[in-house]
């Protein structure tokens, strides 16, 4: 039962069949909240152990990739007696539509939480069309 709970807590990123990772470390899917605001979409991701130096946010065409590297800190000369989570990198991929203004995407990291601000392009914002009487 505890095993099931652990799996649900930290999901490993699944690779497509036939594709293997070249790095011998685990990659997890960070838990994400997405907030829809009037002028932007905010993506909040839990990536403990990741800071501004170890985080890569890349946008290629319409694919936005978050990749956070985590250096495993294993205390020397100790043995693990309780293991509820695994340590590894984080990765999550999103597809972005044309309605996001690519040039104004911003990202911040604080206390292991990434905040990604995706402003909506002017044309995508709801426009109010005034109706005039003829």
């Amino acid at each position: 039962m505890a095993e099931v709970a652990k799996e649900m807590q930290k999901k490993e990123v699944e690779t497509k069949e036939g594709i293997e990772r070249t790095r011998a470390r685990k990659v997890y899917t960070p838990a994400v909240d997405i907030i829809e605001k009037k002028g932007e979409i905010v993506v909040v991701a839990d990536m403990p152990g990741v800071d501004e130096k170890s985080l890569d946010v890349t946008l290629e065409k319409n694919v936005l990739t978050l990749y956070g590297k985590v250096e495993p800190a294993i205390p020397e000369g100790h043995r693990l007696i309780v293991s509820e989570y695994g340590i590894g990198d984080y990765q999550r991929v999103f597809a972005i539509s044309d309605e996001i203004d690519r040039d104004r995407i911003r990202a911040t990291v604080k206390s292991g939480v990434l905040r990604l601000m995706l402003p909506k392009a002017e044309s995508a914002k709801t426009r109010k069309i005034s109706v005039t009487v003829e």
């Binding site: 909240d33 997405i34 907030i35 829809e36 909040v44 294993i74 292991g112």
Partner: protein, 140 residues
């Protein structure tokens, strides 16, 4: 309606992945499961770590009695202003209370805890009286 709007703007690729795990994102995160801890021990001390992203130092309480370590804390959900919505919500929030029975008594004065980058690390030295002692054998 908002969901449709969101899908149009930002389409998580791993949407199908979350569908294979029906509990994720559909139920409220359970406080009992979060956060996860790891415990390491050596002859001299125990090291307890946990992933607590987005939590302030002040929101964590650590206490030790004999062999028992208790970590309490809480994390708030993102707050929404009017007209804002959560098209997607997976991050856990709420209160947690976790207790561990360590294999030896702890020297309460020597406990150190640090929180960096969302990772909590508590180092708990073994009580002096508890440490394995080396017995010298005298020659006659």
């Amino acid at each position: 309606m908002l969901m449709t709007n969101f899908t149009r703007l930002l389409d998580p690729w791993d949407e199908c992945e979350s569908m294979r795990q029906p509990f994720f994102g559909q139920t409220e995160p359970s406080n009992a499961e979060f956060p996860a801890f790891n415990v390491w021990v050596s002859g001299d001390d125990a090291i307890v770590t946990s992933e607590l992203p987005g939590i302030d130092r002040g929101a964590i309480e650590i206490s030790v009695v004999g062999k028992t370590l208790t970590v309490r804390g809480s994390r708030r959900s993102e707050e929404l202003a009017e007209g804002e919505s959560f098209p997607h919500k997976e991050r856990w929030f709420g209160q947690f209370n976790k207790t561990f029975e360590l294999p030896f008594d702890i020297d309460a004065d020597g406990i150190r805890a640090q929180l960096a980058g969302g990772i909590l690390e508590i180092s708990l030295p073994r009580a002096e009286a508890e440490k394995p002692r080396k017995i010298e054998i005298k020659s006659e």
